[in-house]
């Protein structure tokens, strides 16, 4: 109410000082500029939250019911080479959790969205004990195969992102079991690429909760990623550079989250953290530019079926409120909303039963990699991290704003981009 009064007063002052005509012109101009968008921030948020719920619900609800193994479809990419029954369920669980964690961490209130959120949170906390209970049908495999190194780390990252809501409420037996399983991963080594961060962040979680952690697994992840930094916000994924979205699926996000714990526990310097964060912000700045005026982005590199996870870095930088000043948070929101519509409103992205299907926009199984199965797809939830901002955050309240490519391609002035030297 107070806000409304304020803007009314401001409007009157504007009219008084600039004259009715120019006010009317300004209004008209605004209408033209906002013409493509009919949605307000609140409507966008309602779309995002109902969509994230739609994505996560089948996973979380089946976890709560103890029927995940029974019900999760097992669609596989062409020439799939993993043992799907030993990996896909943890993929679904870990990846979903990592994406919904910041949203679930919001306080309850009487909004519609909060009802969905609360239900997901309660069901998730109910389901978590099952996945580490060796006697339960949904017990997940942490102990063989390489792949669980990846997906256990997304569980650990989710615990780091929402400790009070997802870790603290677990009973002590379940906690002990998670700790045991996380440590059991140490019988295998990570691939020599972005995977180093999977091991690193799982250990960082153990460190965070006061367990004995393997300092070498964190340290080598930190050192190699620093070595593998090539410039302008881009890391190489291993010894060779690859132009794909792994900087977003994994690297920036895990690097920063891992370093946060390491700094807190005096295992890395604040300088390392600041540098990693600056680089992630630069990468996010480029990501905002990757979204075309119509809300598409170039399908580059492997794992393109991870869909909106390609924008995890941008989403996380938004969540951390570190978006460079010249980019309005609302333009990130509007760009990503458009991308989500293109992906999730396309027939075939969801199966008739509501599970994600292999593809980018729709059902396009031929584009899935040899390691991709239904569970892998749930990483798309990490594109929704900004839902962890309160509904009254400017990200959600500011009016529609054109994103950079929309401005550029409609002939509007737009900020010049320039490489960075850090």
């Amino acid at each position: 109410m107070k806000n409304k009064l304020c803007s009314l007063v401001t409007a009157l002052i504007v009219i008084a000082f600039t004259g009715i005509n120019s006010f009317a012109q300004k209004q008209k101009k605004q209408i033209i500029e906002t013409a493509p968008a009919i949605e307000t921030g609140a409507q966008d948020r309602a779309y995002w939250s109902s969509l994230l719920y739609k994505i996560a619900y089948p996973i979380v609800h089946n976890m709560a019911e103890g029927t995940l193994r029974k019900n999760l479809p097992l669609e596989k990419g062409p020439d799939y080479y993993l043992n799907v029954l030993k990996v896909t369920h943890m993929e679904a669980v870990g990846r979903t959790m990592a994406g919904i964690a910041p949203w679930l961490a919001l306080p309850d209130d009487d909004s519609k969205e909060a009802v969905l959120r609360k239900q997901l949170r309660e069901e998730l906390v109910k389901g978590l004990p099952n996945i580490v209970n060796p006697d339960h049908a949904d017990f997940l495999n942490f102990r063989t195969e390489q792949q669980p190194i990846v997906d256990a780390s997304y569980i650990a990252q989710a615990f780091l992102r929402a400790p009070k809501q997802l870790w603290d409420p677990l009973d002590s037996l379940t906690k002990q079991r998670f700790i045991f399983e996380f440590k059991a991963l140490r019988t295998r080594k990570a691939s020599f690429n972005n995977w180093l961060l999977f091991s690193g962040i799982t250990e960082a979680f153990l460190l965070k909760i006061g367990e004995q952690a393997d300092p070498v697994r964190m340290d080598i992840a930190l050192r190699k990623m620093k070595d593998w930094y090539v410039g302008d916000g881009y890391y190489k994924d291993g010894e060779k550079f690859a132009m794909d979205y792994y900087n977003s699926y994994v690297i920036h996000s895990m690097m920063v989250d891992m370093l946060k714990v390491m700094v807190e526990k005096k295992q890395a310097s604040q300088r390392d953290y600041d540098e990693a964060l600056k680089r992630m912000v630069r990468y996010a700045e480029l990501q905002e530019r990757m979204i075309s005026p119509e809300g598409t982005y170039p399908p580059l590199g492997r794992s393109i079926t991870y869909r909106t996870a390609a924008f995890q870095a941008l989403a996380q930088v938004s969540l951390m409120e570190k978006i460079p000043e010249y980019i309005k948070p609302a333009q990130v929101r509007c760009a990503m909303t458009k991308v989500m519509h293109n992906i999730f409103d396309t027939k075939g992205t969801f199966s008739d039963d509501g599970w994600l299907q292999l593809g980018l926009a729709g059902h396009q199984p031929e584009v899935a990699d040899q390691y991709t199965s239904t569970g892998s797809l749930y990483i798309c939830s990490t594109g929704f991290l900004a839902l962890g901002l309160l509904a009254n955050n400017p990200f959600w309240t500011e009016p529609y704003a054109d994103w950079t490519s929309r401005k550029a391609w409609s002939g509007q002035p737009v900020k010049k981009d320039y490489k960075v030297e850090y």
């Binding site: 170039p298 590199g301 031929e366 950079t404 490519s405 002939g411 737009v414 010049k416």
Partner: protein, 404 residues
């Protein structure tokens, strides 16, 4: 008044109705002509300096502003050279070609004639910019020697050789610029002149060190996410290697590897183009517009596109992009390119080193006009490009990093 046949076609290339009846090739020729004519019709009469309206970046660094003319001319002819090299026939297009070719040849003589008002500014140790643009002239000679180099009179040729050797006083910056020096030397090599071998070999070896993987070179010691692999690095490295392999100076294997990497890079470029014909605007020099697509179109011209990319899908994608960019307000009233990506309100996009002349690098996208109209690139029906398929739920090719 210039003779009527000395200026661009008067068909309105912006008229959507005309466009819809026009085939893509006619559209490309008309746009290219629209871009090229102000430069060439003036310079062929030694009136470029007199008539070109040069706008400088709002953040112009104050370097000698005479650099603009060589930028306009050098960059332009590197893009239109293959088109000029096609044989004459009775088509309407051929008239355009004959006009632009004869204007280019006349302009080429002015560029090095100290007595001509359009004698270009070739720089010195302090003003390094002309190294860049001289190299685009050399690139045009390297690509189409029969059309652009051989017809020049002996005196003009000697003058070029003199300028190309004198320009050795300019040390390139330690980034993509090393290829500018190498390109000029490689042209000298191709015509049997004495070369500065270090300017070639150091460039080749340094660029190799800057290869980061998956078709990407870093531009200097650090990687930058921009279009410099397109504006400069891939095509110039390949041309340099070609010239040196031909003379037995470098190994065919180096050329093959560089070529494969350019093919990989081009697959990204094809994927950059959105369903509605936009592409990612990242990094510096975004005012160079479609010049960014040089590797992709070079492969088209060489018939070496990766198998999964149909020539027609490149044509259709780039045509869609051009129709977004080359709108009336992208040209000044007098027909010069504006600073910006599209329209006339994006002057601030111009980097501190950019001026009206720099914009003519956009002509590099027109390399496929060097293919005859009967080539599949031009004759095949409309074909969807990758993003058009991907974002409408249709099957599309999976992408994967390469290890070369």
């Amino acid at each position: 008044m210039p003779a009527k046949n000395a200026v661009a076609n008067q068909i309105d290339i912006f008229d959507r109705q005309v466009q819809s009846k026009q085939n893509d090739r006619d559209y490309w020729v008309a746009v290219m002509d629209k871009i090229a004519s102000p430069v060439l019709s003036n310079m062929s009469k030694a009136e470029l300096r007199k008539n070109m309206q040069v706008e400088y970046s709002p953040t112009w660094d104050g370097r000698n502003n005479q650099v603009a003319y060589m930028e306009a001319f050098g960059r332009l002819i590197a893009g239109i050279a293959p088109f000029l090299a096609l044989p004459d026939d009775t088509s309407a297009e051929s008239k355009v070609r004959e006009r632009l070719r004869s204007q280019t040849l006349q302009s080429l003589t002015h560029a090095v004639n100290p007595e001509s008002p359009d004698y270009l500014y070739w720089g010195n140790n302090q003003v390094r910019q002309p190294l860049v643009d001289a190299s685009y002239i050399a690139q045009a000679f390297l690509m189409e020697p029969d059309t652009l180099w051989k017809p020049l009179d002996t005196e003009t040729k000697q003058r070029y050789i003199h300028e190309f050797k004198t320009i050795r006083q300019i040390t390139p910056w330690n980034n993509n610029w090393i290829l500018f020096a190498a390109t000029i030397e490689s042209f000298l090599l191709s015509i049997g002149e004495e070369i500065n071998a270090a300017r070639i070999d150091t460039a080749i070896e340094t660029i190799e060190k800057w290869y980061v993987g998956d078709g990407w070179y870093s531009d200097g010691d650090k990687f930058h996410f921009d279009h410099y692999n397109g504006y400069v690095i891939h095509p110039m490295l390949v041309e340099v290697l070609k010239a040196n392999v031909a003379k037995g100076r470098r190994d065919q294997k180096e050329l093959d590897k560089a070529y494969k990497r350019m093919q990989r890079y081009a697959t990204f470029q094809e994927r950059y183009i959105s369903p509605e014909g936009t592409y990612i605007v990242v990094g510096r020099s975004s005012t160079y517009r479609v010049g960014a697509f040089q590797p992709l179109v070079k492969l088209v011209l060489d018939h070496t596109l990766p198998e999964e990319i149909k020539p027609a899908q490149v044509r259709c994608a780039l045509t869609a992009v051009m129709k977004r960019i080359f709108i009336p307000s992208t040209f000044t009233k007098e027909g010069w390119l504006t600073l910006g990506l599209l329209g006339n309100e994006q002057k601030n996009l111009a980097d501190y080193y950019s001026n009206t002349g720099s914009m003519y690098i956009t002509s590099l996208a027109f390399l496929p006009l060097g293919l005859p109209a009967s080539h599949e690139f031009w004759s095949a029906p409309f074909t969807e490009w990758t993003q058009l398929k991907a974002w409408s739920g249709k099957p599309f090719k999976k992408d994967y990093a390469v290890d070369y």
